[in-house]
């Protein structure tokens, strides 16, 4: 292949990464933005989504699309429920103290990871894609399913944006983010908003995982990379800013795709992590974020 088509392929792969990353990072960003909680277990909710997708789609016989669609609906709901329980049992009792919640979510990370290892096992297992149509470009054929991931992610991001900016629920969430005490004084059930946001954040990660699992594989350690990349995206995009998160996800996903085609993936990760750490040191509010109060 020549350089041009090669670059196009790298860019397409990068866009698929970006699409999944944007959803995962948005979940992390919402939880941080509204609740001021750094959820270290976010990657594990992602992993749970993928593992549940495997479990659901193998339990349902018939056309692969049937199993996949059931998983796309059920897996995020189950993950959301687990997150809700974790929030009620642990985070609420800590009064959302930033440092205590980090330690607690590290604990959740270990618990979820170990339970997945015990009940699901150390194997990586595939999920059959709902359709396997290939789209023929002049230079190479490209998986239609991968393109549909990009479309699905864009739709979900638009829906989240719509909910956040155009509905009552979004207004309540933004009010809580802006000033939780005043929101409480105006009769907003801040406590329930927190629970909902935490569950929603976990569900976004789970949806992203269900979308990606037909082209990667479900594995109990698969949450590590998305967690780190989501952190990177959220930091570059500015903590708690939706627009910044999406822009940063596309930026990171594309550059990750392109860099890892031409360089070793470890070197790519080293450079990316180092750059982000430097951004955080010298521009603590991200490239797009505004100073928090």
């Amino acid at each position: 292949m020549h350089f041009g088509p090669h670059l196009l392929l790298a860019a397409l792969e990068g866009l698929v990464t970006s699409a999944v990353l944007a959803l995962t990072a948005l979940g992390l960003s919402l939880v941080f933005g509204v609740m001021r909680v750094v959820n270290v277990a976010h990657g594990e909710f992602f992993m749970l989504g993928a593992v549940l997708a495997w479990a659901i789609s193998t339990a349902i016989s018939g056309h692969p699309a049937l199993g996949f669609l059931t998983a796309l609906v059920l897996a995020p709901l189950i993950v959301g429920l687990i997150a809700l329980v974790a929030e009620r049992l642990v985070l609420r009792r800590l009064n959302y103290n930033p440092e205590a919640t980090i330690v607690a979510t590290i604990g959740m990370l270990y618990i979820i990871q170990q339970l997945a290892l015990t009940f699901y096992g150390p194997e990586a297992r595939p999920v059959e894609p709902p359709f396997s149509h290939r789209i023929l470009l002049p230079w190479f054929g490209y998986s239609g399913y991968k393109l549909s991931i990009i479309a699905a992610s864009a739709l979900l991001l638009l829906a989240t944006w719509f909910v956040l900016t155009r509905t009552k629920i979004g207004l309540v969430m933004r009010a809580t983010q802006y000033d939780s005490e005043t929101a409480q004084a105006f009769g907003i059930p801040v406590d329930r908003v927190y629970a909902g946001v935490f569950a929603l954040g976990a569900m976004l990660a789970a949806v992203a995982a269900v979308l990606i699992v037909p082209i990667s594989q479900a594995h109990y350690l698969m949450g590590q990379d998305p967690l780190l990349l989501s952190f990177i995206v959220v930091i570059i995009g500015g903590l708690g800013s939706l627009r910044g998160t999406v822009v940063a996800a596309v930026l990171i996903g594309l550059s990750d795709g392109i860099i890892s085609v031409f360089f070793s993936p470890t070197l790519a990760k080293i450079i990316a992590t180092m750059l982000v750490a430097m951004v955080l040191v010298f521009r603590p509010h991200g490239l797009f974020g505004t100073a928090s109060r």
């Binding site: 205590a100 330690v103 607690a104 618990i111 780190l228 040191v281 010298f282």
Partner: protein
Amino acid sequence: MKEASPAKAYALHLGVIALLFALNFVLPEYHHGLLARIMVLAVFAMGYNMLFGYVGLLSLGHAMFFSAGLYGAGLAVIHLGWSVPAAFAAGLACGALLALVIGVLALRTSGVAFMIVTMMFAQVFYLMILYFASWTGGDQGLVVPQSARVLVFGSTSLSLTNPTMRYMSALVLFSIVLLVTLAVVRSRYGRVLVAIRENEERTKMLGYDTFSNKLAAVVVSGTICAASGAAYALLFGYVGSTFASVQYSILPLLWVLLGGAATTLGPLIGTLFMYYVVDITSGYTSAYLLIVGIALILLVLFFPKGILGTIRQRWLGWLP
């Protein structure tokens, strides 16, 4: 913090050291080896406690200081053929230098950003170990040859692979660090650190340069952790990338939280307790991470002050 009578505190610490010395002669072989390892790792926890307990800076990247000592000492022996004391010094120097650089950068941030920045620098360090696999052995790690792990005094040479020698070396390191920590936290400087933890703005207003005090604390903490790593490489003869992974940044946090942050003996108690819990439960289940996870959550929920912290609060106010 109540004013402690210095004699009482020093007597307690010397008593603990004497107890550990006596245990050398009575412990069965298996526990003897385990305790030597625990003392070396307790030094790691004490280094972590220096920063987390006294200055209140929660780092999620201390594995990099531990492994700077580990690799600094281990690679000096393996590739350069240095003697044990020189390699140990190399490990310390690597840790101190790394801590200085990381401190200057990371202390520009605070709170949650500090945790994430330290975690990311540690991740970079970990990935670099994997990337330069031809020198570091990558994720397989390297074995420090037994023949190189000897201390030479004139004509006598003592092998660090001998269990008693290993135990005593671990004890010497542990005792030095314990007494140094005790002296530091009781000094003027230690009080400034606690003042920064309690109210940084006010300390600044009183005329203290909080940045350089914090930087010094990062360097001291990083050097102690590097000492633990260097001792680990030389005493147990294995250098591996696992020790640089996120998990080894979390473990000292867990040990310190369990034993009691800002107590001098807490790190030892936390490490001892956690090691034995994992050791005993691993007889029944391989799911030791589950226990670590549950322990972390229960600790922050019900015992945020840890074992010694709770004892100090309830009964023994003089405990340092």
